[in-house]
């Protein structure tokens, strides 16, 4: 059984109506399904406005879905009583993009890391101290860091503190929202390695969100590709990275930068821009930019269907054959 399972989750935001506003609905997340197994990483890929951050917020319980539901350890989040919700909040933690913004500059590192601990239950101060030192050791920081303030650390070290804080309540799932994109290139590998070590050591599951496709491919077991609130392709990371099938995934992976000059692939340069989520195109949201768009794409939104060992939402792989 999956640790966390989202079934047809939607989050629609109602725009305000007013003199200059037409009060449209933004379908930030629209019928998205995915599952995260214990000890595994789910990578969410997509450009700005595709709904990946809203998805993270839904998983963290910071937003309530307007449709569909999320199950954690087999229990629907909406059906949880207050004890169940407390358990859920301790089991699901987050690490954010900017470690300069996500750590309170007025708190000592020990207080930052201990906060999830002491808010959740009553623990003796000695025990808290021990936990903090253990967590610092786990993320590769010296014990004396506990008495310092965040400004005394570099970006990479701060991200380690943020990871230690996320781990302090012994979570099962950690949401990683762009955890390395604010860091220097030479520091990123340190943090990615640390995250993988911790996963192996503690059996953590990750929801990994990043725009760096190579980093997502490196970290993830399964991948979900989103475009304007919908999943266009999802499945095993190896399968998708090796041979993307949805035209958007294909373009996205071809737009990913090569790792060496000899690796210059055929570039698929998409025309146009990501449309506004306020007025998404009809049918398949991707059709105005799609090099293979057909009449059908404009009229009907394709459903996710199994194609070559993964799920793809595209009319190219319709029920009546691969070509039309």
């Amino acid at each position: 059984m999956a640790l966390l399972e989202a079934a047809g989750v939607s989050k629609h935001f109602q725009g305000r109506r007013g003199l200059f506003r037409d009060g449209g609905v933004v379908r930030a997340v629209d019928g998205v399904s995915f599952a995260i197994d214990g000890g595994q990483t789910l990578g969410v890929v997509g450009e700005s406005g595709c709904g990946k951050t809203t998805t993270a917020k839904l998983v963290l319980g910071l937003e309530q879905p307007t449709g569909g539901g999320i199950q954690f350890e087999g229990r629907d989040l909406r059906a949880l009583d207050s004890a169940g919700r407390r358990h859920y909040r301790k089991s699901v933690q987050a690490v954010f993009q900017d470690p300069y913004a996500s750590l309170n500059p007025r708190m000592r590192v020990s207080a930052i890391i201990a906060e999830p601990l002491v808010t959740g239950e009553t623990i003796a101060p000695v025990e808290v101290r021990q936990r903090v030192l253990h967590l610092l050791d786990l993320v590769g920081l010296p014990g004396r860091s506990a008495d310092l303030f965040p400004h005394e650390f570099s970006g990479g070290q701060r991200q380690r503190i943020a990871i230690a804080r996320a781990l302090s309540s012994s979570p099962k799932l950690v949401v990683l929202d762009e955890p390395v994109s604010a860091l220097d290139v030479s520091i990123r590998a340190q943090i990615l390695n640390l995250l993988r070590d911790l996963q192996a050591q503690l059996g953590l599951s990750y929801l990994f969100i990043a725009h760096d496709l190579a980093a997502v491919a490196h970290m993830s077991h399964t991948i979900v590709v989103m475009y304007l609130g919908k999943v266009v392709e999802s499945g095993d990371a190896d399968t998708i990275v090796r041979a993307p099938r949805h035209p958007y995934t294909e373009a996205l992976f071809s737009a990913a930068l090569p790792s060496s000059p000899d690796d210059r692939r055929d570039e698929i340069v998409l025309s146009g821009e990501v449309p506004s989520p306020l007025r998404p195109p009809s049918g398949c949201h991707f059709h105005p930019r799609c090099p293979h768009a057909m009449a059908r794409c404009k009229a009907h939104a394709p459903a996710l269907m199994p194609v070559e060992g993964r799920l793809v939402a595209c009319h190219l792989y319709g029920a009546n054959g691969n070509s039309e």
């Binding site: 700005s48 220097d184 496709l213 190896d238 990275v241 930068l257 060496s260 340069v269």
Partner: protein, 336 residues
């Protein structure tokens, strides 16, 4: 052996000096580089490695605390360091143009796109408003802005990020410069928009015979865009050479470590080779080679004296004691 370079830096140093003169930050230290007409040079480095200060030095747009303390800055055979401010104003925007990271910060929100694209044409070429606006329309078309005539009359907030950055590109090429300096131009753009922008830049480069200096921390962009590469670390160019050669056989331990630390699509499961430690504080540099505290192949000498830049016959320059002629036995990188 080759025609004179379009741009040539010789031992150029730019230092920031604190108000009392007690603290000196060597942001750019003894940098020698050349850019030939029509070629693309990638300058790679982490934040604080001096790449932006280098760009600002070339344009002579340094803040008042900065001093160019030594070196030569030759552009089309003239030393830009000896030019007056008035003369520099005729170089900037006309012969050397620059694209910055954040297009919203480089466009004025109060003026129309047409005014802003036409401005350099009117200033540098003395064109009339009508003629400059007509040119501006053509330029927008060249950077593939749909409905350029309508867009001329709109303001920056009415455009998307990708469109704004293309407009900044249009301003950059408006007076037919010989050299375009792009400082992290795609960092704020989405992946597919970044791909659009990079292919547009390459097209403009071909059409106008532009030389490009691409400043980035992203080795992938260098792999896709550049002919030559200069790797900066703590204010110095530690390695420079043709992109293909440097990627294939990096000599400096920093370049090697940097190339090994980026995740690749092809080998997903391999552990990344991280570089321990962090870049040094430029105001408090270690003696000797700046990379020595983090270097996996450090030797005693590295901590004592900084290595000189050594250029080999195949156009590669390296600043590393291990790459010095005669140090071949200890060099793990295979310098040719």
């Amino acid at each position: 052996m080759s025609p004179p370079a379009l741009l040539e830096l010789e031992n150029l140093s730019t230092h920031y000096v604190s108000a009392r003169g007690t603290r000196v930050v060597r942001a750019v230290d003894e940098v020698s580089l050349r850019v030939d007409a029509g070629e693309t040079l990638g300058i790679v480095g982490e934040s604080g490695s001096g790449k932006t200060t280098l760009a600002l030095t070339i344009l002579r747009l340094l803040p008042t605390a900065a001093r160019v303390t030594s070196g030569k800055l030759m552009f089309e055979g003239e030393d830009l360091l000896t030019k007056s401010d008035g003369e520099m104003r005729r170089v900037r925007g006309k012969r050397i143009a620059m694209i910055l990271q954040d297009p919203m910060a480089s466009l004025n929100p109060l003026f129309t796109i047409g005014d802003q694209v036409a401005e350099p044409i009117r200033v540098h070429e003395g064109a009339s408003r009508g003629a400059a606006w007509a040119r501006a329309g053509e330029l927008l078309k060249a950077v593939r802005i749909p409905a350029p005539q309508t867009r001329l009359h709109q303001h920056p907030h009415e455009m998307s990020g990708g469109m704004r950055q293309r407009i900044v590109g249009a301003i950059g090429i408006s007076c037919g410069p010989r050299l375009l300096i792009a400082d992290e131009p795609t960092t704020s753009l989405d992946l597919t928009i970044q791909a659009q922008y990079l292919s547009l830049l390459r097209e403009l480069q071909r059409a106008h015979g532009l030389a490009l200096i691409f400043i980035t921390h992203n080795l992938g962009i260098v792999a896709r865009m550049c002919d030559r590469l200069a790797v900066m670390y703590a204010g110095r160019v530690v390695e420079a050479g043709p992109v293909r050669d440097v990627f294939k056989a990096p000599v400096h331990p920093y370049t090697r470590a940097l190339l090994n630390s980026i995740p690749r699509m092809s080998d997903r499961c391999q552990r990344l080779t991280a570089i321990d430690g962090q870049p040094p504080d430029l105001a408090d540099m270690p003696a000797g080679c700046a990379f020595a505290p983090r270097c996996p192949s450090v030797v005693e000498r590295c901590r004592v004296a900084a290595p000189p830049a050594v250029t080999s016959g195949d156009g590669r320059t390296v600043r590393c004691w291990l790459a010095m002629p005669g140090a071949g036995a200890t060099n793990g990188g295979g310098a040719a």
